[in-house]
Symmetry: C2
Subunit: 527 residues, 2 copies
C-alpha cells in the first residue's frame, strides 16, 4: 500500500478558549476506582473554566472535602458503603474463588452476595433521602442553577437527584445497577453479546449461548430486584407514584461510556452513547530518580510491573510467597505494588512499593509486561501503551476485561484458584515474555485505539458542554424510552396480526365447509 | 445559564499534511443525485492527495469520462438505468400520486413498480458481469493495488466487485437494495422505527404500529426478492456457490451514513456506522452579480427559492400554472429552478432558471423559504442554513425526509394530489412565512447540527483513510454478521431451554402422579 505514515490521521488540535466563562456542574460521584477516573474528568472540566460542586457523604473515603478545583456539600449519614465492608467482600471473594468453579463463582457473586449488594444499595438509598430531606441543601442546590448533573450511575443516587432537581444528566458510566450499561440502553442480542461474568466472548457455541442466556436472565433479575427493592420506593416517595426508576435511569442525555471498540466487542449502540475508553490515558512523564535508576538497572531484560488495584491490599500469604518466588527467578526487574506483609521469598530483582506511577511505568521504553487484576483503568492504560498483560482477576468485571485482551492474543489469564499451583504464574509470565505475538497484538490494539478522529477526553468534554449549551440532548434520545416492553417488542402488534390472519383463515375454512355441506345436501336432495 | 458563547464547542482545526502521498481508491458510484454527493466526497479525497479511479458504464449520464481529479474505466454495456427510464418512472409516479391515497401510493411503488426495479437491478447485474468478464480490466485493477473500494450500495455492483477484488469496503450510503440502510446493519425495532414510505414518525399509535409492521414485511420481501433474483446468481457464479449476497452486502468495513440524528429519528446504530449527514454543506459564497441584484431587489420581504431536484424536469401544465400564479401573489421575490415550458401565469417577481447556486442562495441573508421536493441533499442544506421548507415530495424517500422536518415544526408538506386545489400552495407558503415557529425550529435544528466535535466531511475523510491505513476495520464489525437468523435471535436457545423446562415440569408431574397412584394402590391394598 502506498498510503504511508505521512498520510496518517487528520491532525486535530483542540484550542481551549482562554477566557472561557464556565458553567455550573453538579457532580454525584461514586467511591473507589470509579472516583479515580471521575476525578480525572473533573480536573479537565475545571481547566475549561467550569465550577464543580460535589455532593459526598460524611463517610466518603476517597472523595476529599473541598479541593482546589471543586467545592463539596457533605451530607451526614449513619452508614455507607465504607472501605471496611468493601475490603471484607474482597477477601471473601478471594478466599471463595481460590477453590471455585467458574459457574459457582458467578452464582456466588450473583446470588450469594445479593444480600450484601442490596444492603449497599439500601445505604445509598438512605443517602439520597438524607440529601432530599435536607431542605436547606436542596434550596441552595436549586438556587445555584446548575447546568448539568454529572454522575457515575453504578448506584442510583445521581439519576434520582437529577430528576428531583429537574436537570440535564450526563453519565460517566460502564456499570448500571448492576448490569453492563449497554444492556439498559441499547438492543443487546444475547446470541453474541456476552453477559458480564459469563466468561464468554462474542463468538459462542450453541451451549455457550445457552449458558449466556441463563446468565442474562439471572443478571436481569438481580438488576431489577435491586432497583425495585430500594430505589423504586424512593422514586415513588419523592418524585410521584407514577415514576418508574428503571425508565428514569435510562433517560440520561449523554452516556460517556468508559470503553471503546478496540477494547470491547462490537455491538449495537445508541446515538447518545459516546465512547471515551482510555480518556484517562496520556503519554508517560519522566519517573522519579530512584525509580528511573531501578528501571535502568534492568538492562536489556527490561521490567515487569504488578498491581492488583485499589481494593486488594493483601493476598493470602502462600499465594504472595509463590508470586514473589516466581518473580525472583526472572532476569527482569520487577516493581510490585503491594500493601500486605512482605513475602519471605522476595528476590533481589523485586521492588515492593505502596504506590507507583503506573501510567509512567507502562509508557517507559523498558516495560515488558504488566501483571494486572484487570480493572478497567489499568487495562485501558496497558492497551494505550501497548504492554502485554498477565491477568489475575479478582472480582466483577476484571475477568471479562482481561478476556477481551486474551481473546485478541494480547494477554494471558490466570485464576486465583490455580495461580499458586504447578509454577503456573512463572510459566504464564515466561510465555508472554518470550512469545512475540502477545506484544505485537497489544501494539496493534494500541495503534487502533490511538487512531481516532478526536481524543476520547476531548470528545467527553465536548458532549458534557453540548448538554450544558443545549440544556440536554433530547434529540439523541430514542422514542423507545417511554414505551412499555410489549409495545417495544411489538408483542401486541404480532398478536393482533396473527389473530387477524387466523380469523381470515378460519372464516375461509368454515365458509368452504358450509358451502361443501350445502352442495352435498343439495346433491343428495336431487338424487 | 452562565455558560455563554465564548465557551462554545471545542474548536477543532484540521491540518492537512502538505506532502501527503495518497493512496489508491477504487470508486464504484451511482448515477443521479447519488453521484452529486459522491462527487463532493471525491473532490475532498483528491485534495488530500489520493488517486481516484472510477468504473462507469458506457451509458453513464452523470459521471463524465476522465476528469482533472479522477480517471475512469468505461465498461461497454448494452442497456443501463438510463435517464429516459428514470424520467419515465418519475412522470408515471407524478401522474399516479396526484390521485392516490397514501397506502395505494406505497403499494404502487413497492409492488406496482417491482418489475421495473428488478429490471433496473438486472441491468446493474449485467454491468457487474461485463466488468468481471473483462479479464484485461480485472488484471489492471488487481495490478493497481487499490487500498479501498468506495461505493454507494443502493445497487449491488460495489459490494460484489470489492469482494471479487478482495478489498476493504467503505459505503457512502443511505439506501441499500432498496431498504433504508440501518435496517440491514443495526437492530431496528419496528415499534418506533418507521419504515420508508410509511409516512410515520417515531411516535406511533397502536394502529400505526400495525401499519408499520405490514410495510416492514412488504419492504423486506421486496428487498430480498430483488437481491435473490439478480445478485445472488452473480455471487454464486463469480464468488462461489456458498457466497450469500445479503451477508456480503452487510459486511462493509465502514458505513458513511448520509444522515445525522438532528435530521433522523434517534435509533440503534452500530460501531462501524459513521454519521456524515450534511457533509456537503458549507457556508454560502457570494452570488453572481445578476442574481445578487435580483435578490437585493426583494427589499425587506426577502426571497423564496424553489427546486424539485435533478429528476423532475417538468410538472403537469395546470400544476405549474397554479404554482406560478401563487408565487405571483407574494410580495417576496422568487427564484424557481424549472426546466419545463414556462407557465403562463409567471409573475414579475419570479425568476425561472435552469440551474441555481442552491447552497449560496440558502445561505443568503435574504432567504425566507425553500420550496423543495425533499431530496436528502436539499433538505440537509436547508437544515444547515436554518431555512424553513414547504415540501412537495415526488417519490421514494422525499416524503419521509420532509416529514422529519415537519415533525419538528420546521416544514409544511403538500402532496401532489392537493397542491393545485383550494389555494393550498399559496396558503402553505404564507403559513410558513408568517408563523415564526417554523423559522425558529429550523434554526434550532441548524444550531444542533452545526454543534459537532468534528465536521461531518472531516469525519468521513478520517474513516476512509482509517480503513486504508489499517486495511479494513474488522474490529468494528459485529460477530452477528456471520450468524444465521435463528442463532442471532436465539430461537434455538429459547426452544432448547423451553424444552428443558417443559421436560423437568412433565417429569415432575408424572413422578408425582406415579407416586400418588402407588400410594393409593398401597392404601387400597392395606384396606
Amino acid at each position: 500500500m502506498r498510503l504511508i505514515c505521512c498520510c496518517s490521521a487528520l491532525l486535530l488540535l483542540v484550542l481551549l478558549p482562554r477566557t472561557c466563562q464556565g458553567g455550573n456542574i453538579l457532580v454525584i460521584p461514586t467511591e473507589g476506582s470509579h472516583w479515580i477516573n471521575m476525578d480525572i474528568l473533573l480536573q479537565a472540566l475545571h481547566s475549561r473554566g467550569h465550577n464543580l460542586t460535589i455532593i459526598r457523604s460524611s463517610k466518603s473515603w476517597y472523595i476529599k472535602d473541598n479541593s482546589t478545583y471543586y467545592s463539596t456539600y457533605t451530607v451526614p449519614v449513619e452508614r455507607s458503603i465504607d472501605k471496611e465492608i468493601i475490603t471484607r467482600i474482597m477477601s471473601s471473594i478471594i478466599d471463595f474463588e481460590r477453590g471455585a468453579l467458574p459457574l459457582m463463582s458467578f452464582l456466588h457473586s450473583s446470588v450469594g452476595l445479593l444480600d450484601t449488594v442490596i444492603e449497599a444499595h439500601t445505604a445509598v438509598g438512605e443517602y439520597v433521602s438524607a440529601i432530599i430531606d435536607d431542605r436547606e441543601l436542596i434550596r441552595t442546590l436549586k438556587d445555584t442553577k446548575f447546568d448539568v448533573v454529572l454522575t457515575d450511575p453504578c448506584w442510583g443516587s445521581g439519576p434520582i437527584l437529577a430528576k428531583y432537581l429537574n436537570l440535564p444528566l450526563v453519565y460517566n458510566v460502564r456499570w448500571l445497577i448492576p448490569e453492563e450499561a449497554h444492556f439498559a440502553i441499547a438492543p443487546s442480542p444475547i446470541s453474541y453479546i456476552p453477559v458480564a461474568g459469563s466468561g464468554l466472548t462474542d463468538k459462542m457455541s450453541f451451549f455457550q449461548r445457552v449458558k449466556n442466556m441463563i446468565f442474562y436472565v439471572v443478571s436481569q433479575i438481580q438488576a431489577h430486584v435491586a432497583a425495585k427493592q430500594v430505589y423504586q420506593k424512593i422514586c415513588e416517595k419523592y418524585l410521584g407514584p407514577d415514576e418508574d426508576f428503571y425508565q428514569l435511569m435510562i433517560d440520561a442525555d449523554i452516556w460517556l461510556m468508559r470503553v471503546d471498540f478496540v477494547f470491547d466487542y462490537p455491538r449495537p449502540t445508541m446515538p447518545n452513547v459516546v465512547y471515551m475508553g482510555g480518556f484517562q490515558c496520556k503519554p508517560a512523564k519522566p519517573l522519579p530518580q530512584h525509580l528511573e535508576e531501578f528501571v535502568q538497572s534492568s538492562g536489556e531484560h527490561g521490567i515487569i510491573i504488578m498491581s492488583l488495584g485499589t481494593f486488594v491490599s493483601e493476598l493470602p500469604a502462600d499465594m504472595a510467597n509463590e508470586i514473589a518466588a516466581a518473580f525472583a527467578k526472572l532476569p527482569q526487574k520487577v516493581i510490585w505494588r503491594y500493601k500486605g506483609s512482605r513475602p519471605d521469598t522476595v528476590g533481589n530483582n523485586t521492588l515492593i512499593v505502596d504506590w507507583m506511577p503506573q501510567n509512567d511505568l507502562l509508557g517507559h521504553p523498558k516495560i515488558k509486561l504488566f501483571v494486572a487484576h484487570g480493572g478497567t483503568n489499568g487495562v485501558q492504560e496497558a492497551l494505550y501503551h501497548g504492554v502485554p498483560v498477565v491477568g489475575l482477576p479478582v472480582f466483577f468485571d476484571q475477568y471479562d476485561n482481561l478476556l477481551r485482551l486474551e481473546y485478541r492474543g494480547a494477554a494471558k489469564i490466570l485464576t486465583l484458584s490455580t495461580v499458586d499451583k504447578d509454577n503456573n504464574f512463572l510459566k504464564a509470565i515466561q510465555e508472554v515474555l518470550n512469545e512475540p505475538s502477545y506484544r505485537m497484538n497489544m501494539q496493534r490494539l494500541s495503534r487502533l485505539h490511538r487512531d481516532q478522529p478526536i481524543r476520547p477526553m476531548d470528545n467527553a468534554l465536548f458532549w458534557i458542554e453540548f448538554v450544558m449549551r443545549h440544556k440536554g440532548a433530547a434529540h439523541l434520545k430514542p422514542a423507545s424510552l417511554s414505551m412499555s416492553w410489549y409495545s417495544y417488542h411489538s408483542v401486541d402488534v404480532v398478536l393482533f396480526l396473527g389473530g387477524a390472519v387466523l380469523l381470515v383463515f378460519l372464516s375461509t375454512f368454515f365458509l368452504i365447509r358450509c358451502l361443501c355441506n350445502a352442495m352435498c345436501k343439495s346433491k343428495v336432495k336431487h338424487e
